[in-house]
Symmetry: C2
Subunit: 440 residues, 2 copies
């Protein structure tokens, strides 16, 4: 059969969802094109480790092409999909060309959500991409360098205060790792500031940590574990303003030059071009088979989709297992349709549990009726992540790096790089006006 | 004794010279301040591996603070020294403050030299810093991505032609590694261009490779080894022009969108502020004890110095062993003077030999009367670099990464990152007008 006559499946996005779909379709009787605007797949659960200088970007990222090199029916295209035209069955690329499809899988993921306050993005750094993580690393390390040079104790205080906004899993992980980085690793290396106590403040709007999913008992445990580390936890605190000097809460101002934002995500702009109904976070409300209403050949999976299971009112959470299971479902549906077989009717999510780490050797985890916290939860977390890193090229190096850090209490990737690595950036950091160069 | 009354040694630069000097002075009766404008020490001999996506930046860089954390008399300052005032014995920092000294060691290294054609720096990328290496990696990987999307065979040809200017050790190493990356690693991953042959052209002005230091026989061997790999070597070729379309030689135009420049270095601008005599490359002409004439308390070492050994007319080469040996000499001289002991009179360089790799398993090396080429030279190169990586925090990871690449023929760090990672950058690459964002 002429390859160009085969049905064409276009997958937009090379994250957990898109990549899984491509792998599953590797032996389908179809041409597959995976389009992503970056050349690498990212192991997002460890991205905070890059931001905290524990791992290098390449430890948790792998070229999409490499992963799919043996999928002979698959092409990988580095391109930005700007819109999708469901009626004419094609997607628009940034260079003006279009790509026709017979089947479409939208798996573009999510981006940081500032809930209408995009002006805060200048000061409150999100953590979704490698560039985000490297920028956070640069800012955190520069804050210590600037503090070491600073004579004014008030400015030094501001430089050594880190605010993390959002008490979900990412916020908890970042706050814990940041406290450890500050206390154990950096404090030893700085002659002048080594006796000062860096502050890490975690701000959450709800009256508990880890809202949405985790048990209340684990939320209480997570708070206690964070406080043992030295993190200050502010619950029920609404952010009223953020600028270069710090964060305003209802009843308090936190003076800080380094603010991280993990308070929420929203769908990327492509979903808005589909002409389908979306929820408040911009996610496409899909049918039971993950397709877009009225378009049985077009699917949305993962963080870009709002999938409400039968009998539930809440959409599935934006976590990688959902994306991967939906990818497998949709791939098998498309493969069945191509073969003329009976299609699976409805996607059902199998929830294996959720977990969050709190620094080295602390965590919370729940699966089924089981609730874990502390060291045992952390070991479970480690096991699960080792397991999921299998198939990932860099798993040995990641483990090695971890082990190394654990034994030596050093950090593997404490690099300040980029055009604003020094001097002026340092002065700006002290003034609290170091605006990131690139925010998307 | 009051610490602030101790003599103050200021070291400018945290490369091989500056860092060695600081380590040697760790137990001297002096306060030591090491100033560098970046926070990391770089293992420069493997920088080309970062540019060729074989290693991550953090594999070959280590925070200067970490290295010196146990040197209690030493402070590390992240700052840019803009000038030195030898009469008033102080150095000027970029923020307007000054730092007084009793002894000064200038070890600022060198930067890429375009020999009066700074306008070429836009197109012909130098390789001296981590940012340089990451930019080269981005450009090389983007060229392949752009070629995969390109319909015009002429443009595709230009995208798949890489020109390396300068046939010294770095040029030879880069050309060999680039050919291997192109042939064995990338070519497999690209559906459309996998049957095209990427070209790597190495251009050298002299009539031989590796001029200045290496034996003629090894130069001939290096050329043969490169040609076996598939590199085209152009000897006796003078560059007449470089722009976004390629490189003009006297008798030929090489159409290429990716041009690398390894043709020479010159001293950094700080050396010009010393008021001392400099050579054509801006290096300070120092006395036999590495001091600046008329200033027995101020020394210049490494690439920033022009040191002509007694009985010779040629200055020592800009290689790390020279910098490290000079650092030890100057540190022992200062320590002796502080103790009131007899000072060593004159620095003498002990030449252990020189070597250059040509991709995986090929190299040339000479030491004393011994001349090696091919696999044996490569094993010698490997041994020496493993040896010198000892003391370097990342040695295990570096070795592991190497081993991994060697076994799997994959690349560890094939990431395209930064604001211009995709879309527009891709289009610009095809047009040959992708100007790097940051050149210093």
């Amino acid at each position: 059969m002429n390859a160009s006559k085969l049905p064409h499946v276009v997958i937009v996005g090379g994250g957990f969802g898109g990549l899984t779909a491509a792998k599953e379709l590797a032996h389908a009787t179809a041409r597959v094109t995976l389009v992503d605007r970056s050349n690498h797949h990212l192991f997002q659960p460890l991205l905070y480790q890059v931001a905290m200088a524990g791992l290098s970007p390449a430890d948790i990222a792998v070229p999409i092409r490499s992963v799919l090199r043996h999928a002979e029916n698959t092409s990988v295209l580095l391109a930005d999909v700007t819109a999708a035209d469901l009626e004419r069955r094609r997607v628009q690329l940034e260079d003006g060309t279009a790509l026709g499809y017979d089947y479409l899988i939208v798996a573009v993921g999510a981006k940081t959500n500032y809930f209408g306050h995009d002006e805060w993005s200048k000061w409150a750094l999100g953590l979704k991409t490698i560039d985000d993580a490297v920028e956070i690393r640069r800012r955190v390390l520069l804050a210590f360098e600037a503090a070491e040079r600073e004579d004014d104790p008030a400015v030094r205080r501001r430089l050594l205060t880190f605010v993390v906004i959002g008490g979900g899993p990412t916020g908890v992980e970042v706050a814990g790792a940041l406290m450890e980085l500050s206390r154990f690793v950096l404090a030893d290396d700085f002659r002048r500031i080594r006796h000062e106590r860096p502050r890490v403040v975690l701000v959450e709007m709800a009256n508990r940590l880890l809202p949405g999913g985790f048990d209340e008992t684990l939320a209480t445990s997570a708070k206690a574990q964070l406080e043992t580390l030295g993190v200050e936890v502010r619950l029920g605190s609404r952010v009223t303003g953020i600028d270069g000097r710090g964060v305003g809460l209802q009843d308090e101002t936190l003076e800080s030059t380094t603010v991280l934002w993990t308070a929420g995500v929203r769908a990327k702009s492509l979903t808005a071009t589909l002409g389908a109904k979306t929820d408040r976070a911009g996610r496409v409300e899909v049918l039971g088979d993950c397709s877009i209403p009225g378009h049985p050949e077009a699917f949305v999976i993962g963080d870009a989709a709002s999938f409400v299971p039968k009998g539930s009112t809440r959409p599935l959470p934006g976590v990688s297992p959902v994306a991967m299971q939906q990818a497998r479902f949709v791939a098998s549906l498309i493969a069945a349709r191509l073969r003329g077989d009976t299609e699976p009717a409805e996607f059902a999510y199998f929830d294996k549990g959720i977990m969050a780490t709190i620094g080295r050797s602390r965590a919370v985890a729940q699966t089924g009726k089981l609730r874990l916290s502390g060291l045992l939860a952390w070991l479970a977390w480690l096991l699960v992540h080792i397991w999921y890193l299998i198939g990932f090229r860099n798993r040995f190096i990641v483990l090695f790096n971890w082990a190394w850090n654990y034994v030596t209490y050093k950090r593997g990737a404490r690099l300040i790089t980029g055009e604003r690595a020094t001097s002026r950036a340092l002065a700006l950091a002290a003034q609290g006006s170091d605006v990131p160069a690139t925010r998307s």
